[in-house]
Symmetry: C2
Subunit: 196 residues, 2 copies
């Protein structure tokens, strides 16, 4: 009984769910996609989708094959003294991109996300939202959506300058050097009184 067998979870059920999720996300966007619709598209029981993925965020990160989870990566980085938060955040993000095993995958996601409005909005709603939600947990950050978006603009700009454009000297500086120079920008975006 292949159908019943698949419903219980055949070896490639997880992969079939991810294929279905990629199709749903790309057609309906992040907000328009549900775990139930992915189950229907994959022809599996919804409980099976929940067995493999604890929620839509998990499903999205796995479907995009993102090699990091901002919900796990950011809290330890954002903890610590308020001064220097930007530098710590940039060291972590630029450090990911400096990993030769991760960079090709990150570049593929970034390039596909920038290629059309649909994929760009998918990155925004599926990934950047998770980053901004983490920033919203920081004590003393007023208006986290605006401040998180400003942080995102500088981080994305640095990644593109460094890894897509190859703009010198940003492309050759170490992650630590670049984080030291641009960290104060992020500290101001997060906490600056002149932004209120």
């Amino acid at each position: 009984m292949p159908v019943a067998g698949r419903r219980r979870g055949s070896p490639d059920t997880r992969g079939e769910i991810l294929d279905a999720a990629r199709r749903e996300f790309s057609v309906r966007g992040f907000d328009g996609t549900s775990m139930r619709a992915v189950a229907r598209e994959a022809d599996v029981d919804p409980a099976l989708v929940h067995h493999y993925f604890s929620g839509k965020d998990d499903l999205f990160l796995a479907a995009m094959e993102l090699p990091f989870d901002p919900r796990a990566m950011l809290p330890p980085v954002l903890r610590g003294p308020r001064d220097g938060t930007g530098e710590r955040l940039l060291r972590a993000v630029l450090g990911l991109w400096d990993d030769p095993d991760l960079r090709p995958r990150l570049l593929t996601v970034l390039r596909s996300a920038l290629a059309s409005d649909d994929t760009a909005h998918l990155l925004r709603d599926g990934l950047l939202r998770l980053v901004i939600e983490q920033i919203a947990t920081l004590p003393g950050v007023v208006d986290p959506q605006r401040r998180g978006a400003l942080v995102g603009s500088q981080v994305i700009g640095l990644i593109i300058a460094r890894h897509v454009l190859g703009l010198e000297p940003l492309a050759s500086m170490t992650a630590h050097e670049l984080a030291a120079v641009t960290g104060p920008t992020l500290d101001r975006y997060l906490y600056g009184d002149d932004l209120r």
Copy 2:
């Protein structure tokens, strides 16, 4: 004598030179392309290329159909009090992008530039270099390549957040509001003593 006629400049000679320039730039990059090679590719006399375009920078801007020339746009913006340079620069750049007649063309150039290393490097060598050269003319800017690259990273990040990702509230703020909030970042990148 169609060949001789074309050499003197037929109605579409300029367009044929631009087609040839696009092919040369895309295959050989900015640095690898010469006016002479474009003339050869277009099958016209090199003097004719120089008749239509005063130099390779002109030819590049026309071939990319860029609706602005940083060599004309930036000097009046960069002149004026040192404080506020970043805000004036951002108002000008974001203002271009807010023009509904220009935005589609700018988006096409940006998206194509980010799509591959070759096109990204073309944007860097053909366009960003002109911007950094203008910044290098500012009195008191030490190490203009580094400072210009940092400025570029924030400007590109804002454009992508606002016009590609549609990241709120950056997408809905006016150009003046956004320039006021992020201008101090650019002032520090241009003139900050803590960057030396």
